[in-house]
């Protein structure tokens, strides 16, 4: 069980705790503190996946968030997750990782044939190759692309993990705990500011963990530990590791993704897996550091090729060698540190430096240690298929466009450094227009649009001294403005190595007659030639080139490819990089799980559930519920093996013949009070309200200003200046806002107050010919005769000891009453009604029966009041006053609203009196008519008329009532039905409305 590439003592891992895991079925082990990547490399495994397009073997390239290749399918804690970054995911006991995008295995992948067919997969190949013939698309091309493309496999299992959302406010958010981040957080904390310090890795310190520096005579790592320990002890500071700030939104709101327990072997039941933080920060310090960029050369995607800083991080943090015969290929000084680190661990590197021979502190040190340095040299092409075996290297001429000498050297890894790219993603997301900094060949933040300040490497300062100074000063100044306190801090003494100037070379030339693939973007398999083709084909805007070639897309968002892509485009176009510009950075900076975005809002918690006070009774009595907005309403009460159709028919029939009760608590209720209440209602409703007496209800219709019906309902005058308005369940919230709008903005002179009382009252409707008999039993002391409590009458009375309101209103078209009691008494009322109603054959009825009853009566509801109809469309023009003004009145005169042929409400019955007409059916003259077959209207509501024992529907139809007696077809392509129908009146039952007044 030895690990051939593990160093004996280097690293920050816990060698006392072994962790076993599997990779592609093979049992392996690592140590606590390893990532999947470091553990695999320690075991000498580099081939971990196949590339997206050509299925070329791919290995690790980075050591953190910059990794473009090593995305694995990982199973742990009982769930399977695709596209997990192997360089970020910490090792946990029992974890099982498998390669993606390869079949049948990563070692032998059939798709690799694409690599030899690459002439068929040039830039834009999706657009070109799979166009013709059209009929091939669904059956051949699409399934092929689906299988070949894409990365991992999403699990179809239910996610059993817990995810959380958290809202936080702070004075200063610091994103990244490298030297500048630590300094900023520390200075701000000392000023008493509320600080959040976020670090995406498990360990704090950033480059301090890997760079050979000292601060105040402490090593970088020890200094970082000292600062973090002090910050953690301060009550005004929140320090978070494993937390990636991935989005910068408006008004300084940032979103952070915290991996709470993915690294834990055991956790308590309520520990979330991951947590999403919404952080509103007064100021933000972006100390996101920089990412090394590669130099482009032939076969630069071969496993065993690393960024040089990643190779150093594997040694210093994980005690792992990425190879034992390394080539260091660089255009700058920073890679010399990697070489020195190899040397320290008794590995002999060869440095290929594209610059001409010169001297600097690091070069001199490398020389003095006897490291083989070859100036003006670079890698032309890497040899080896599944792992680097050797490299063809060349001595560059003075112009660096051809070679003076070419030779092949053996190696088992190549560590490449093409200088550093500041991580400006968050700054860019905040609206900061970036500027190109010639000195470092990269973009840095420019003018800010929000309260953000980039410090350290993220701002293009690559020395420790500058970064620390930058951090301390900005942290102190920004927080002092907020806290009004300024604590003096002495900037510590720094000991670091001075870097010489870098070389601008970013892509190696090719010798004549050689044409290996040179990749710019590893994750999307975009090579130099792909971008050349795109430009040759006329793509100019960098945004277009990105989309055509897929350069810089997908999960790594071009973190290592972006600038080289821009360099290439600018070279071909003979422009400079700032003229080409850069593509837009968008959140998320790094992939986050869907579970985190969703948080706790799943299943029953997807939205709040509103239950009426009688809910438990309904449940006990086999109610099948239906969602009405957030409300749960009984749809029907199931008896035995009844279907929905049978049950609703039974319930509706019982209302027509005996009496039924229905829970109407969900109706919107608005209390309206004030001396101008009558005037207000008169303006809000289309009909007249000034003369409604106390103790009477009235049906009202309200419009929007454009004349369209907004809602309907009854409003009752409780006392002189007090009204009780009801709205439909669906429109309750909108109507309240609507009323508030007019009272607060349009007519503030009206002395009226409105408040929602929907939840204060429990409501039950008693409907049916026997409802008066039942009511008299419920109120033995009350005169409920038609004379004292007529249709649209109102009374307040004692209901077995509790106060109640009785409204004689009807939605079902039967003789009916609605009783309201305080919510707390709802269950008491309901049970009493069920008890007292027995002798009258009382049964509860649900929304399905309720719909049946209103449809056959021709009462309109949501499907007819669908935001397109005006009062005359739904036969409610009788409610529109000609005498007074009201909201929307002026719109009713519009020409289109007064065309005779306008679609209006009618009734439909099937000719065969048997076939139910699907809701949403189109009405056409000729069911076999030529397309486009003119649509004359649509079916809005359908039911089985219990009164006439046949189907009946309401429809909104051209020419409306003029069509009565004519025959048409109701066609539903969705249900594949075509039913011959006859047009009749929309009032199918009791058209004179005698029953409600009986």
């Amino acid at each position: 069980m030895s690990q051939p590439f593990r160093l004996n003592k280097e690293g920050l891992i816990n060698r006392n705790k072994k962790i076993s895991f599997t990779f592609n079925g093979k049992k392996l082990f690592g140590y606590e503190g390893d990532t999947i990547a470091s553990a695999l490399i320690a075991n000498g495994i580099h081939l971990v996946g196949r590339s997206f397009k050509y299925h070329r073997p791919r290995g690790f390239f980075g050591a953190g968030v910059e990794e473009p290749n090593a995305k694995l399918q990982v199973e742990f804690n009982g769930h399977s997750e695709p596209n997990v970054n192997a360089t970020e995911m910490e090792l946990v006991e029992g974890l099982s990782a498998t390669s993606q995008n390869c079949w049948p295995s990563v070692n032998f992948d059939v798709g690799a044939i694409n690599n030899f067919l690459k002439m068929f997969f040039p830039a834009g190949f999706y657009y070109k190759t799979f166009m013709w013939p059209k009929s091939f698309w669904y059956k051949i091309y699409e399934p092929f692309i689906r299988k070949a493309a894409g990365l991992g496999v999403a699990s179809i299992e239910k996610d059993k993990e817990r995810y959380e959302h958290k809202f936080e406010y702070c004075d200063l958010l610091v994103t990244g705990s490298g030297p500048s981040g630590l300094a900023s957080a520390y200075a701000a904390a000392k000023n008493g500011a509320k600080v959040i310090l976020a670090e995406d890795k498990p360990r704090f310190g950033g480059t301090l963990l890997t760079d050979d520096v000292s601060i105040d005579n402490l090593s970088g790592k020890d200094w970082a530990e000292k600062i973090i320990t002090e910050l953690k002890s301060m009550p005004n500071v929140t320090v978070k590791n494993r937390s990636q700030v991935f989005g910068y939104y408006d008004h300084n709101m940032l979103v952070m993704f915290e991996r709470v327990s993915d690294h834990l072997e055991k956790k308590s039941k309520f520990t979330p897996r991951q947590r999403l933080w919404y952080i509103r920060a007064k100021e933000t310090i972006l100390s996101t550091g920089s990412i090394e960029r590669p130099i482009v050369f032939g076969n630069n995607d071969t496993p065993g090729i690393f960024l040089s800083a990643a190779a150093k991080e594997y040694m210093k943090v994980y005690g792992v060698l990425v190879g034992k015969k390394p080539l260091i290929f660089t255009n700058n000084d920073s890679a010399y540190e990697t070489a020195l680190e190899f040397k320290k661990n008794n590995v002999e590197p060869i440095i290929l430096d594209t610059r001409e021979e010169h001297s600097s502190e690091l070069i001199d040190e490398a020389k003095s240690k006897g490291i083989d340095i070859r100036f003006s040299h670079g890698v032309i092409v890497a040899n080896g298929y599944k792992k680097v075996k050797s490299a063809k290297i060349g001595k560059l001429n003075k112009d660096k466009n051809s070679f003076e000498k070419i030779e092949t050297v053996d190696c088992d890894c190549i560590c490449v450094s093409g200088f550093w790219t500041p991580s400006v993603h968050l700054a860019s997301q905040s609206g900061n227009k970036l500027k190109y900094e010639e000195k470092i060949d990269a973009f840095i933040p420019d003018k800010k649009k929000q309260h953000e300040t980039s410090v350290g490497a993220a701002n293009g300062s690559f020395t420790l001294e500058e970064s620390l100074k930058n951090g301390f000063e900005n942290g102190s100044n920004l927080s002092a403005k907020i806290t009004d306190t300024k604590t003096e801090i002495t900037i510590p003494n720094v000991n670091e190595k001075k870097y010489g100037a870098h070389d601008k070379l970013w892509c190696m030339p090719l010798p004549k007659n050689e044409n290996p693939k040179r990749f710019v973007d590893f994750q999307n398999d975009v090579s130099v030639s792909d971008i050349e083709i795109a430009l040759r084909e006329g793509y100019r805007s960098i945004e277009h080139v990105k989309r055509y070639t897929t350069l810089g897309m997908a999960t790594d968002q071009g973190r290592t490819s972006n600038l080289n892509g821009l360099q290439l485009v600018s070279n071909i176009e003979n422009k400079i990089v700032p003229e080409v510009g850069h593509t837009t950075f968008r959140p998320p900076f790094t992939p986050i799980t869907i579970g985190t975005i969703v948080g706790r809002e799943v299943g029953m918690e997807y939205m709040p559930t509103r239950k009426t006070p009688m809910h438990e009774w309904h449940k006990k009595n086999n109610a099948v519920f239906v969602d009405a907005g957030a409300w749960k309403r009984p749809r029907y009460y199931k008896q035995g093996n009844e279907t929905l159709f049978e049950a609703s028919k039974r319930e509706a029939k019982n209302v027509r013949e005996n009496v039924g009760i229905c829970d109407v608590t969900t109706l919107g209720k608005i209390d309206i009070k004030g001396p101008d209440a009558a005037e207000f209602l008169n303006r809000v409703y289309t009909n007249a309200w000034m003369k409604l007496p106390v103790g009477k209800a009235r049906y009202g219709l309200m419009l929007r200003e454009d004349g369209i019906v907004m809602d309907d309902g009854t409003t009752t005058r409780i006392s002189e200046n007090h009204y009780h308005m009801t709205t439909t369940t669906a429109q309750a919230a909108n109507v309240l806002s609507h009323l508030e709008y007019y009272l607060q903005i349009v007519w503030p002179e009206l002395n009226v107050n409105v408040v929602s009382t929907t939840e204060q009252w429990a409501g039950a409707a008693i409907a049916g010919p026997k409802s008066r008999d039942m009511l008299s039993k419920l109120y033995p002391d009350l005169d409920v005769s038609n004379d004292t409590l007529p249709f649209m009458g109102y009374k307040e009375a004692d209901f077995f000891g509790v106060p109640s309101r009785i409204f004689r209103i009807s939605f079902s078209g039967e003789l009916a009453y609605e009783i309201n009691v305080k919510s707390d008494h709802g269950m008491f009322m309901w049970e009493k009604m069920m008890d007292v109603g027995k002798e009258f054959g009382n049964q509860p009825y649900g929304t399905e029966a309720l719909s049946t009853l209103r449809i056959e009566m021709g009462h309109v509801a949501g499907p007819e009041l669908d935001g397109r109809t005006i009062p005359s469309d739904v036969s409610l023009n009788g409610l529109v006053s000609k005498k007074k003004d009201f909201i929307g009145k002026n719109s009713l005169g519009r020409e289109a609203f007064n065309v005779e042929s306008r679609q209006k409400i009618v009734g439909l019955i099937p000719i065969d009196r048997k076939s139910s007409i699907p809701e949403g059916s189109h009405i056409v003259q000729d069911q076999n008519g030529k397309l486009p077959n003119p649509k004359l209207g649509h079916v809005s509501s359908s039911c089985w008329s219990v009164e006439n024992n046949n189907p009946f529907s309401l429809a909104i139809m051209k020419d409306g009532k003029n069509m009565i007696g004519k025959k048409f077809f109701a066609v539903s392509p969705l249900k594949n039905k075509s039913i011959e129908v006859e047009v009749i009146s929309s009032h199918y039952v009791d058209p004179e409305g005698k029953r409600v007044r009986s």
């Binding site: 809202f167 408006d250 919404y278 509103r280 454009d706 709008y741 607060q744 903005i745 007519w747 003004d885």
Partner: protein, 89 residues
């Protein structure tokens, strides 16, 4: 997510508010004659400026007051908020 200062409740997250459109539109007086053109302008015609815009928001999950917000439609910068009875200049 915007951060809106309700003149009654203070700074609150956007999710507590609902949007109500252009605050400078004035409804023609009730019970007064209005030309078709004026009415159509009130109901349908809205400017869609890029830049400063005075608009209505309602603090629906708070005090339920309608308020005025002066906001830049391109950058979302909020310059001023006020009660509907107050002027924004």
């Amino acid at each position: 997510m915007l951060y809106i200062k309700c003149p009654y409740c203070g700074l609150r997250a956007q999710k507590e508010f609902s949007y109500g459109g252009d605050a400078t539109v004035k409804r023609p007086n009730i019970n007064e004659e209005v030309s078709n053109e004026d009415w159509d302008n009130f109901v349908y015609m809205r400017k869609s400026p890029r830049g400063k815009h005075i608009e209505l928001w309602q603090h629906i999950a708070g005090c339920r007051q309608w308020i005025k917000v002066q906001r830049d439609t391109a950058t979302h910068e909020i310059f001023q908020t006020a009660k509907v009875t107050e002027e924004i200049r």
